[in-house]
């Protein structure tokens, strides 16, 4: 059982390129359709939870699956078993990426100065910036951004880019002001 959990997430971690969101369809295939560890509805709840919580979405979802499988298994009384379930999925999710990147980091420092490598990366750098920017349109649509609420991301981006504000403080500021705003709106409503 533990090995199955580890193996499933190892596969997901090895074969999904492009980070957290790209992993979700493959996780769904393995966990919902093949292993039937959770059902469709719980999978959607898992995505909501993994997105609401800070941190890497892949790791958050690995935690959830490990936790649920541990709860549903016959050994669920044992706390140690539940912890091992969670550790198996998490390790499976992060190990491939860790090993591959470490190997690249060690090799890349030797090859970085080669003219051919430098030329390739000269072409790649602007493409990377474009790839960071281009999903914004789709994400804005999904988030339901209006002209007025677009002020939040625009002001945030400018504060970080021009004023050098820390993203952490911006997030805290946003949480405080949203709660304050909601409180005022609620009071006026009554």
């Amino acid at each position: 059982m533990l090995f199955q959990l580890f193996w499933t997430y190892l596969k997901v971690g090895t074969f999904t390129l492009g980070g957290g969101y790209a992993m979700l369809p493959m996780i769904q295939h393995e966990v919902v359709n093949r292993r039937k560890w959770i059902d469709e509805e719980e999978f959607l709840n898992m995505i909501a939870l993994a997105q609401a919580a800070p941190g890497l979405i892949a790791v958050n979802s690995a935690f959830f699956i490990g936790w649920r499988v541990g709860q549903n298994s016959p050994h669920s009384q044992s706390k140690l078993f539940r912890i091992l379930c969670v550790l198996s999925t998490i390790l499976g999710a992060i190990l491939p990426s860790f090993v591959i990147i470490l190997a690249i980091a060690i090799l890349f420092s030797d090859y970085k100065s080669l003219p051919a490598v430098e030329a390739i990366f000269k072409g790649v750098r602007p493409a990377v910036v474009a790839l960071i920017a281009s999903p914004l349109f789709r994400m804005a649509k999904v988030a339901g951004l209006s002209y007025l609420s677009a002020l939040i991301p625009i002001a945030g981006a400018l504060a970080i880019w021009l004023l050098g504000w820390s993203p952490v403080w911006l997030i805290l500021l946003l949480i405080v002001s949203v709660i304050g705003y909601t409180w005022l709106a609620e009071r006026r409503h009554k």
């Binding site: 492009g18 957290g20 939870l49 591959i100 493409a127 960071i132």
Partner: protein, 193 residues
């Protein structure tokens, strides 16, 4: 000392990294710049490598920055653990509250509004990451801007083309695959420079 700094920085990145990979980039960049662990150029290279290798982007960055900042495997182990740790703690609490939360807070205005606000701000974080990476080093002449323009247009094209024409839409979605675009940009760079 640098190990403690790495741990604290990446713990903070994990703790405030709402919205997944791309949104986390702007936090990582802020920390990396603050401590001078690497140049802007090196950071862009890491993002490129992260996008063409498997695994979560935040994890890839943590491992890579940890290694290059200290030149040791220990550094990359420490920053990788640090970026995952907040997830473990928070998910532990959230999973315990899971059933309770879903029912009680689903309609709570404070909870719903805060999540919506964060979702909006995350777009700004990603925008800031893109803007701050547009440096003179990465965009050194007009050809860089041409590559940027082509990749950007191909990236947003699936949004512009109607889904009615299934075959074209499929082709364009395939064409807008980040891995393919990065590989093509690499080939272009090799031929151009």
């Amino acid at each position: 000392m640098i190990y403690v700094q790495l741990f604290l920085s990446f713990f903070k990145i994990g703790l405030f990294g709402f919205g997944g990979g791309l949104a986390i980039l702007s936090l990582i960049q802020h920390e990396v710049e603050r401590y001078g662990w690497m140049t802007q150029k090196e950071f862009v290279d890491i993002v490129a490598i992260s996008q063409v290798t498997p695994g979560p982007i935040g994890m890839n960055c943590a491992t890579y920055v940890g290694y290059t900042a200290t030149n040791s495997i220990l550094g990359s182990v420490i920053s990788s653990i640090a970026v995952v740790l907040p997830s473990l703690i928070i998910m532990f609490v959230l999973c315990r509250l899971y059933f309770l939360m879903q029912k009680r807070y689903q309609n709570n205005v404070y909870y719903v509004n805060t999540l919506r606000g964060i979702r909006f701000l995350v777009l700004g974080l990603i925008g800031a990451a893109a803007l701050s990476l547009m440096t003179k080093e990465s965009f050194f002449d007009w050809s860089s801007w041409v590559i940027f323009g082509i990749v950007f247009v191909l990236g947003i094209l699936p949004q512009l083309v109607s889904k009615n024409c299934v075959r074209t839409h499929k082709f364009i979605t395939w064409l807008s695959n980040p891995i393919l675009l990065i590989l093509m940009a690499g080939v272009a760079g090799y031929l151009l420079y």
